[in-house]
């Protein structure tokens, strides 16, 4: 990939220097069709390759420019010095990104350019949309929601995250978190809520439907304004706040989306208001905090790793100290040890937090790409994202960005058919594209599914023969055949489209994934679609587990797999020969962990039955005791334990002890085999 990037940088730099000359020529000779076509082609080429090399910024910029020059070619826009000006500026920005120059400068320049562009761009946007019914543009309501739950909200059995997530689901939203003192995540683990949410939501829902989300909250814990109902309905301090946000470069792009559906008077009122210099939330809005803009800094991952190691050490040492303090019975020392332990716990939570980000941060970025691409290719695509809250190590998430970009492009370009074609084969007009993320034991799975035409295995076969991967009459399993498209230089597309690149494809995707220890699997069925599964092992993941005890060892079971647990007062079932129990009137197989691990039988009367669900089938395991829920930080077990299949990982608990994570899939295959 590195070589590929270097060659792209070289190639693009050359294109850009020509571009400058062409632009200046065009300014003098606006009628010069050849030069105009050259410029258009440069933008088109840049767009096509930039995204694939991970330069999403360049891709976006080039996309905008391409649109504008297309308009000029078709005579819908007239060249003026303004257009030339910002195209030149845009060229400088692209060059700066390529040379990786001071990021702050180019970021500002980029935003400036995009801003300028959007003003000109709005010209062609208008042309495009003017024949649509007005309702489509203004049919949405826009709500401003201020949500500040009580400090002790968790003790009322409520979770603000759920409420916010529900709001998120009801439309497009911009959510600004005003945390206070600690990050919301830390607050959440400590069950104290000091955070205020400022939410802008554009949705087809009605005001009372939005209010329903706050059913369990007291009236002073939230405030909802319908800001699309006209400027006069919006309190002046809120207008001022919107104006303030609108002018802030870092939130503008998000907020813009929300503000577009505002009706004209309201948006006029907003943009015409004098600038408010006050940073705080306007008076009269519920707030838990003085607002501080969230600031981010980049830290090298080496430093983070070092920090994590130190934290693990600290946890162990604290446990030793505590044991010593208990032994010495010195109240002063005891007290100090206890305090240290509490601090260590908080420190640990905080440190873990640093590395993990929800996949939603990346996945939601694809919305725009899917929209643009499907529009460009005249395809109708319904795009869904599932499992946005699944958290993954930031480095790993970053490394799947390019592979996902590529996979999504392939799906839309090659997978999903044109609407007419879909109707002909009896499918719905709109294609389906879904990205879902979920935890499976110690790995995170990201799946991209489409319901398109699938990969044509015959074509793959032909191409494989042509390229010499297989012999003319060689018998090969479908599964092996499909995996050939992951080989370097393999492509089947008849006419290589600009969208999906030039045969540089799935092999790069696989390489990138392998580099972070991930794998890729392709499953395809003719006319039904393609599913691509990325499995991403992480060296550092947190999953929710149920902590159980078997012969005084601690075993963790991923919460995701658990269906139900109950206490069995009699050990009669253990003596059964057939190893089946009744659950929901069906016999399901069970396994006693004591027996499995060859521990001696114990004399306690009670046993715990834990019903697991794997691949839609149930089975039960039997343990001594359930200890409780536990958020486990998973570490690989290392070479010494790699040969045993029962446990997929381990976790160091707060007391320094080791807990093993049960591989529920392996156990399942074993039970069903017998």
């Amino acid at each position: 990939m590195k070589d590929f990037m270097t060659s792209f940088v070289e190639e693009a730099s050359a294109l850009l220097s020509h571009l400058e000359i062409d632009l200046l020529t065009l300014e003098k000779e606006p009628e010069n069709k050849e030069v105009l076509n050259n410029i258009f082609r440069v933008m088109h080429t840049l767009k096509g390759t930039a995204g694939m090399c991970g330069f999403i910024n360049i891709q976006d910029l080039a996309h905008e420019f391409e649109g504008i020059f297309d308009q000029i070619r078709e005579g819908k826009l007239v060249i003026n010095s303004e257009i030339i000006d910002f195209t030149l500026k845009g060229k400088d920005v692209i060059l700066a990104i390529l040379k990786n120059e001071n990021s702050e400068n180019f970021n500002n320049a980029l935003i400036e350019s995009l801003h300028e562009m959007s003003q000109v761009g709005s010209l062609h946007e208008m042309n495009e949309t003017s024949d649509k019914p007005l309702k489509e543009l203004t049919g949405l309501s826009v709500f401003a929601i201020f949500f500040s739950p009580d400090k002790a909200i968790f003790e009322r059995g409520l979770d603000p995250d759920k409420t916010v997530a529900e709001l998120k689901d009801s439309g497009k939203s911009n959510i600004i978190l005003h945390e206070n003192k600690q990050s919301w995540k830390v607050q959440k683990t400590q069950k104290i809520c000091l955070t205020t949410w400022e939410i802008y939501l554009s949705s087809t829902a009605l005001l009372n439907e939005i209010e329903e989300n706050f059913l369990f909250y007291e009236p002073d814990e939230y405030r909802i304004y319908d800001i699309s109902s006209g400027a006069e309905q919006v309190p002046p301090e809120l207008l001022a706040r919107l104006q303030k946000l609108y002018n802030k470069p870092d939130v503008k792009e998000h907020l813009r989306e929300c503000l577009i559906p505002l009706n004209v008077e309201a948006s006029k009122a907003i943009t015409q208001l004098p600038e408010n210099t006050d940073e705080k939330l306007p008076e009269g809005f519920p707030s838990n905090t003085s607002t501080e803009g969230e600031m981010t800094i980049n830290v090298s991952s080496v430093k983070l790793d070092e920090l994590m190691n130190l934290v693990s050490e600290l946890v162990t040492q604290t446990a030793i100290l505590e044991a010593r303090a208990t032994y010495l019975k010195d109240p002063g020392l005891n007290n100090a040890a206890e305090n240290l332990e509490k601090l260590t716990k908080r420190f640990r939570t905080n440190a873990l937090d640093l590395r993990l980000v929800p996949v939603g941060a990346l996945l939601s970025r694809f919305k725009r790409q899917v929209r643009d691409l499907s529009k460009k290719l005249n395809k109708h695509v319904n795009f869904f994202i599932e499992g946005q809250d699944i958290e993954i190590d930031k480095t790993i998430l970053k490394s799947v960005e390019n592979p996902l970009v590529h996979i999504i492009r392939n799906s839309i370009d090659h997978g999903i058919e044109f609407p007419e074609e879909r109707i002909q084969v009896g499918k719905k007009k709109d294609g389906l594209l879904k990205i879902s993320a979920f935890n499976a034991g110690v790995i995170v799975i990201i799946q991209v599914q489409d319901d398109g035409r699938g990969i044509d295995l015959e074509k793959v076969r032909e191409a494989a023969i042509k390229k010499g991967y297989i012999q003319q009459d060689q018998a090969i399993m479908d599964n092996d055949l499909i995996n050939l498209i992951l080989e370097p230089g393999f492509t089947t597309s008849d006419n290589i489209s600009l969208v999906s690149g030039r045969g540089v494809g799935m092999d790069v995707v696989r390489k990138e994934l392998n580099a972070v220890g991930g794998t890729i699997e392709i499953f395809t069925e003719k006319n039904l679609g393609t599913t691509i599964t990325l499995k991403l092992p992480t060296t550092l993941t947190i999953i929710d587990t149920l902590m159980i005890e078997v012969n005084q060892s601690i075993v963790l079971i991923p919460m995701l797999d658990i269906e139900f647990c109950y206490k069995e007062k009699s050990k009669e079932i253990l003596k059964r020969d057939n190893k089946y129990i009744q659950y929901k009137n069906k016999p399901i197989p069970f396994v006693s962990l004591r027996e499995k691990f060859r521990y001696p039988a114990n004399d306690a009367n009670d046993i715990m039955v834990i019903i697991l669900n794997k691949f839609d089938k149930s089975y039960a395991i039997i343990a001594d005791r359930i200890i409780g829920e536990y958020q486990a930080v998973i570490k690989p077990l290392g070479d010494l334990f790699n040969s045993q299949p029962y446990f997929s990982g381990g976790s160091i608990m707060v007391d320094g002890k080791l807990a093993l994570i049960l591989d529920t899939s392996f156990l399942f295959t074993q039970i069903t085999k017998n």
């Binding site: 059995g157 409520l158 759920k162 529900e166 059913l215 269906e563 139900f564 109950y566 359930i626 409780g628």
Partner: protein
């Protein structure tokens, strides 16, 4: 994982009505006739929601809520108080004990289902 709901109510008929309503939504439903009887469910087993009456023999609803909120494992689970009680003082006492919502009896079945589904989402 299937959600498990505990109903605490001394009057058998209304307990059965609530139980049937909730079972139709595919929840696992456990029953207790008063606060004291409910205590045996807090032994480490999974409870996702408690729906309790206020006036009951032995241990009333507010006392039960106070007990639940004092248990580390159950401190943060939602609790609905379902009652015909209109006495503001009692309502306030329940709120102070940190209930999630106060539902007035008799309740509208659709509305009630919606509340339960929402809180267990």
């Amino acid at each position: 994982m299937k959600k498990r709901i505990l109903i605490v109510e001394d009057f058998n008929t209304s307990r059965q009505i609530i139980k049937k309503t909730l079972e139709s939504l595919d929840y696992i439903v456990e029953e207790a006739a008063d606060g004291r009887e409910a205590l045996r469910f807090f032994d480490g087993s999974q409870i996702d929601l408690i729906i309790t009456d206020y006036n009951m023999p032995n241990m009333n609803g507010a006392e039960l809520v106070e007990y639940v909120r004092s248990q580390e494992a159950y401190k943060y689970i939602p609790i609905f108080m379902l009652s015909t009680e209109t006495n503001i003082e009692k309502q306030n006492r329940a709120r102070e004990a940190k209930i999630t919502s106060w539902i007035k009896k008799p309740f509208d079945v659709t509305e009630f289902k919606k509340l339960v589904q929402k809180v267990l989402l």
